[in-house]
């Protein structure tokens, strides 16, 4: 059912499905973490064109949610989209290639960091318009329902997208027409450089309920909690019971984008430190896995394996060629 390949099991004894899931999620979160640390490195070494918005700190949300999806299910993603794409099954080498504008990238270099799309993993595309994929996600759910193919769609968006009216327009239609779509709001507390409490009146869950959607919040740093909440909403949607709204409370550990380094004016170092120390989603899951008897060495070896994968992927991307200049006016029309 999961889009994530089961890793070589580092735990010898026969595992419970729950433990297997925990390990699978851990490895996928690690992929996102190490991929993005590499992205940051590419930026600081001036090897990457433009900017990128890192998902580090929020990995449990994407991974917990996608754990509840099949490969055929759809997602839409955001400017902060690497995590969603990887969680849904994207390959790291083609991700890196896209971020570097190479022909081998998911979008032949035409999309870049903010527009990774991949039909093979049901990824309808990251979107650089805040709230810009709400319509697309709802439309995919509409088609899934009409075609009766049993797919659901998850629309990931930051709490900043709560400012975009189109979100409410499509939630209303999703509720009216009982579409299999889950609106997954990642509240990382900031719209760029502004605290969300300065931009968001009332109560987020009440908003969703006002449009007829069941809504609940979940600890976005706890992959297992996210999975449980997502699973319920996804099952519901798949059974024809209609859309749902999930609010995942989370935090981005880095700046709004890789260039956002001096952040004191909008959030304190202490706040950042506290989240990193106490609420790191990798640490949260690691603690649970350790409790289940996974020995410390296994985490190290997983990390080493994933790091190797990341290193190979980035090497591939750096060596890969740019698209030929005459590709520029291809793909404008189908």
């Amino acid at each position: 059912m999961s889009t994530v390949a089961v890793p070589h099991s580092p735990v010898p004894n026969s595992q419970s499905p729950e433990l297997e899931r925990g390990l699978r999620m851990y490895r996928r979160m690690l992929m996102i973490r190490l991929f993005e640390e590499q992205v940051n490195d590419l930026y600081t070494r001036a090897l990457m064109p433009g900017l990128a918005h890192l998902y580090i700190g929020e990995e449990a949300v994407a991974v917990g949610v996608c754990e509840a999806l099949t490969r055929e299910d759809y997602i839409t993603s955001t400017h902060r989209g690497h995590g969603h794409c990887i969680a849904k099954g994207a390959a790291l080498d083609r991700m890196f290639a896209e971020l570097l504008g190479k022909e081998a990238g998911y979008c032949k270099g035409k999309g870049g960091s903010m527009h990774i799309a991949d039909p093979d993993t049901g990824n309808l595309g990251a979107n650089a318009i805040v709230g810009g994929s709400a319509g697309i996600a709802t439309g995919a759910a509409f088609a899934a329902k009409r075609l009766g193919n049993g797919r659901v769609c998850v629309c990931f968006f930051g709490e900043g997208a709560l400012g975009q009216g189109v979100l409410y327009e499509v939630m209303n239609m999703a509720a009216l027409w009982k579409l299999p779509v889950i609106y997954l709001c990642e509240n990382n507390l900031y719209n760029e450089y502004t605290h969300y409490s300065d931009t968001t009146a009332g109560d987020i869950l009440t908003r969703a309920r006002g449009f007829g959607l069941p809504a609940e919040s979940v600890d976005g740093q706890d992959a297992r909690a996210v999975y449980a909440a997502a699973k319920q909403a996804v099952d519901h949607a798949r059974q024809g019971a209609g859309p749902a709204f999930l609010l995942a409370n989370t935090y981005r550990f880095h700046g709004h984008h890789v260039g956002d380094v001096s952040r004191d004016y909008y959030r304190s170092k202490q706040e950042e430190q506290r989240w990193k120390a106490e609420r790191d989603p990798l640490k949260v899951l690691e603690d649970w896995l350790a409790e289940q008897g996974v020995p410390p060495a296994n985490f190290d070896s997983m990390r080493a394996e994933v790091q190797t994968e990341v290193d190979q992927a980035v090497q591939f991307a750096i060596a890969a060629p740019y698209p030929a200049a005459d590709k520029v006016d291809q793909d404008v029309y189908a």
């Binding site: 991949d118 996600a137 899934a144 009409r146 189908a334």
Partner: protein, 336 residues
């Protein structure tokens, strides 16, 4: 299949432009179960203009779907549905409302294919209206198609006859790209010959609505009848006007326009959108460049007056190019 109404040998019947639109939709919906219509009051009401009357009876409310008054939202839904297996046709009651959909159309629909490196496609149609003189005032009378023409990734169609409307709409629905289809709301009741057998008209082919030698009048949508009327008036002065309808503004059949301009050496372009930074600017530029060495006079542009459309009838009538105005402009161009 004939590509212009004038080539129809035996026009078995005349139908209205509204009926032609409905027929095109019905035929495509029969042919392809993925095609569906969505918009405000499209089902039982058959749209505010009653163009879709009866469609819901044949196809049911699942395929002729009433939406909330959420132009941005349902346009976005159409984009996503088009990406994932359907072929939606969205109905925007008044073209004035496309402002609400510009982000969805321009940042999403028009770019999904390119941004995904050619992987996702958006086979959708947006039907919208244009045209003034309906006494509907500034927010219900605009012809804003130039905005859409400016955007790579979109195609833009402006039919001027029932025949063209039917054949072009069928092509638009079969096209794998987002197509914006503008209908003049004053023309829904205009009748014209439409064959009973099936046909389509390719996007990107202009049509010579009337052949002539002395002057070329390039006209779109509502202005085609105006141009034909002017051409008739010009006959009395023994001026033979050629009237060309590009039919699709993107892709644009530059060749047909330029060839005619080179032949006649005098050109008027007339479109109901605003004249400034509008469709006529592009058409005039293409012709001025392509027929540069043959033109005897500057290309004359005629469009809506650069004012919000007023309600008051005598004022509103002054904002739109008329037969008479085109006729006078043509005479002036020919120094008569």
């Amino acid at each position: 299949m004939p590509e212009t109404a004038s080539m129809i040998k035996e026009a078995t019947r005349e139908i209205t432009l509204g009926e032609a639109v409905r027929e095109a939709l019905a035929e495509e919906m029969r042919r392809d179960p993925r095609v569906l219509v969505m918009g405000e009051d499209v089902a039982e009401a058959g749209t505010a203009f009653k163009v879709l009357n009866g469609l819901v009876n044949e196809f049911g409310p699942e395929r002729v779907l009433d939406t909330p008054i959420s132009e941005a939202g349902f346009t976005g839904i159409a984009v996503g549905a088009a990406m994932t297996g359907l072929r939606p046709v969205v109905d925007i009651m008044f073209g004035d409302f496309i402002g609400l959909t510009m982000d969805q159309m321009v940042n999403q629909a028009a770019k999904v294919h390119y941004m995904s490196g050619g992987k996702w496609k958006v086979p959708m149609v947006m039907r919208a209206t244009l045209g003034a003189t309906r006494r509907s005032a500034a927010q219900h009378s605009q012809s804003l198609h130039a905005w859409m023409c400016h955007v790579p990734g979109l195609k833009v169609v402006l039919p001027s006859t029932p025949y063209d409307a039917k054949g072009l709409l069928k092509s638009a629905i079969r096209d794998d790209n987002p197509v914006v289809f503008f209908e003049d709301k004053m023309m829904f009741r205009m009748k014209g010959p439409v064959p009973t057998e099936e046909y389509t008209i390719p996007l990107g082919a202009a049509d010579i609505k009337r052949a002539g030698d002395d002057i070329t009048i390039v006209a779109t949508s509502s202005m085609v009848q105006v141009a034909l009327g002017a051409a008739k008036l010009l006959e009395e002065y023994e001026i033979s006007a050629e009237v060309i309808d590009p039919r699709t503004l993107w892709p644009l059949d530059e060749k047909t326009l330029i060839e005619s301009a080179r032949k006649t050496s005098r050109v008027i372009v007339v479109d109901e959108g605003y004249g400034r930074y509008g469709a006529t600017s592009e058409l005039a530029s293409v012709i001025a460049e392509g027929a540069f060495f043959d033109l005897e006079a500057p290309v004359k542009r005629m469009g809506a007056m650069h004012v919000p459309i007023p309600f008051s009838p005598p004022l509103e009538d002054a904002t739109v190019p008329t037969e008479k105005a085109v006729f006078e402009a043509a005479k002036a161009l020919l120094g008569k």
